[in-house]
Symmetry: C2
Subunit: 351 residues, 2 copies
């Protein structure tokens, strides 16, 4: 049995991008397992923009994680040791356990239903044929459900709608792009750089992709969406949101899924052209996937069908080593990641 | 027949509150009536915050009125002279004719359906018993329909909802307050000064009213809406919107009806706490009453019923004289008006 744990501890709430003074890498011994406890070896850590919101001292959609916590993140792991009857060594489980090798938790009388709950442990089912456990992070997890319900329930897309998607090469955006296309929409993506833009069109099936780093977004949109954007699926906020609002159709819908441009900024702000939401009678709706957790099966059935028919895939960028978590996290904010970021804690690449 | 017309001409697009250099008062002769033309003597001019949006050079929900136009506003008048068979002297009509004594227009083959259309002439029906022509500005006009559909269709209020209404002593806000109360909601108003606040509670039936000039809005709201605001009917934008967002319930709705605090400001901005729309999964929807014009009868039936039973009334502040239009308009923005503002162009107070 491993006697040490490596982890990243939240020592200070970051201003802007977290540094090694905010998140401190530590190594320490593991205490012997207590009565009724479970020790999980973490195999995969999901590196997501939303994690940044969880360590804002003013809170976000959840209260801030307290100083001294392990840097929080969604994880998938295998039960390593257990003195609780519900958990057997080798069981696959998920939860919000953070950037560390091992987590040790009291086993509850039943699986907790909310993976967002701190300390919760949820057993994973067998992956559907052709899928693996990592798909529970992406396609069948919060990313897939966010893209699916954001597009259908919040955005209320109809065949023929012109749909604009920011961060279209990203984890959620790439799924949203494929889902909108599968639902018969005309899809325009937004991504940074020619490589990502090519991928959005060629791999994810958008009709066009605007390079926000080099294109004039408003000019491009006026050509690509001459009758206006019916649905804007927003992951970024800021100036790109403003350009989208300028090009929305009357009675358009904005799916407010995220605003990564604002996450490191304590001085976040709403769009300067806010008045146009009135002029064009636009509906803007914030949503969190947790609202839809009880409709998970409905989404997974459709998503798994598309996966099986080759109409939906999720690109993963797997990196290795617990010590590389912070660098991986930074790459989300400078746009250098390629696909959904996952840390794999076994250097061999196997769980 | 009167040989002269007095009017206010848009000489320059205002920055901030319009001055007499932006809107110039003029008097000039009336040309003889041409073939097929109608001359209308304007009896009442509706003085509304939205008029300010119509003279923003960048446009709003309509293109800007061109320089040289008469200052635009909704009017009710009586046909004075006509050489068109559809219009007889003495007919009551309405349209967007602006701040002037007389308007002379070509008569069309039929009434135009959109009163927003420049140059349109719409015949008015007989007012319902107990009502008069002025009610077509207020209760049965854009104000009543805005409050009604804003509260029902956009805000989707349910009995028991906590509803917050800004400018609750104003033309639309006072109607929205009464409508929400009539629909079984708990209503909290926002108004400036003790006199207006008393009116919102005593005359319009709100459960409470916050004085935004002297109260700490956030503190008051935390007491008056301890479980959060379900529906915020916003007429003002700016800091009051931000305070409302801070106190919204999860899954709350914001009815974006107007943002008077921003109308004189070319540097308008969205709420600084925009991110909370995501965290609390709030729906914010801009709407214009013109979208609902084809459902006018549905609203008027309900509104007239409430008026007849004494559950709905509209306070009018009638001022006199075409030369006082600009002063009346200013009072909308410094909060000194009392009720919906109407200019009556006959000093006797009779049409």
């Amino acid at each position: 049995m491993t006697a040490t744990n490596q982890l990243w501890r939240l020592a200070r709430y970051p201003e802007g991008l977290p540094t090694t003074e905010d998140l401190v890498f530590e190594e320490g011994p593991l205490a012997p397992l207590g009565e009724g406890e479970v020790r999980i070896r973490i195999c995969y850590i999901s590196i997501d923009p939303a994690n940044r919101l969880w360590i804002r001292p003013e809170g976000s959609y959840i209260p801030p994680f307290p100083l001294g916590s392990v840097m929080p993140a969604a994880c998938i792991g295998v039960v390593h040791e257990s003195s609780h009857p519900r958990y057997q060594p080798g069981d696959w489980v998920q939860g919000i356990w953070g950037w560390q090798d091992f987590v040790t938790l009291p086993g509850g009388p039943e699986d907790r239903q909310l993976p967002m709950e701190e300390g919760g442990i949820l057993h994973l089912p067998e992956p559907p044929p052709g899928s693996d456990y990592l798909d529970f992070f992406g396609l069948f997890g919060v990313h897939g459900l966010t893209a699916f319900f954001g597009m259908t329930d919040v955005g209320k897309v109809k065949p023929g709608d012109t749909v604009l998607i920011s961060a279209a090469a990203g984890a959620i955006g790439s799924l949203a792009t494929q889902i909108a296309r599968n639902l018969g929409c005309r899809v325009v993506g937004l991504a940074g750089g020619p490589e990502k833009c090519a991928k959005v069109v060629e791999q994810f099936g958008a009709d066009a992709c605007i390079d926000y780093k080099s294109d004039d977004i408003r000019e491009k949109l006026s050509v690509l969406a001459p009758n206006g954007v019916d649905v804007y699926f927003d992951n970024v906020g800021g100036e790109i949101l403003e350009a989208a609002i300028d090009n929305m159709a009357h009675h358009g819908r904005i799916v407010f899924c995220g605003a990564i441009s604002q996450y490191n900024d304590s001085d976040a702000r709403g769009p300067a052209n806010y008045m146009k939401l009135l002029y064009k009678q636009i509906e803007l709706k914030g949503f969190l996937v947790f609202t839809y957790m009880d409709r998970m099966e409905e989404a997974v059935e459709t998503l798994a069908g598309w996966k099986a028919s080759g109409e939906l895939h999720m690109e993963l960028e797997v990196r290795y080593g617990i010590d590389n978590c912070l660098g991986a996290f930074h790459s989300l904010f400078d746009g250098s990641n390629r696909g959904k970021l996952v840390m794999c804690l076994n250097e061999s690449g196997e769980p």
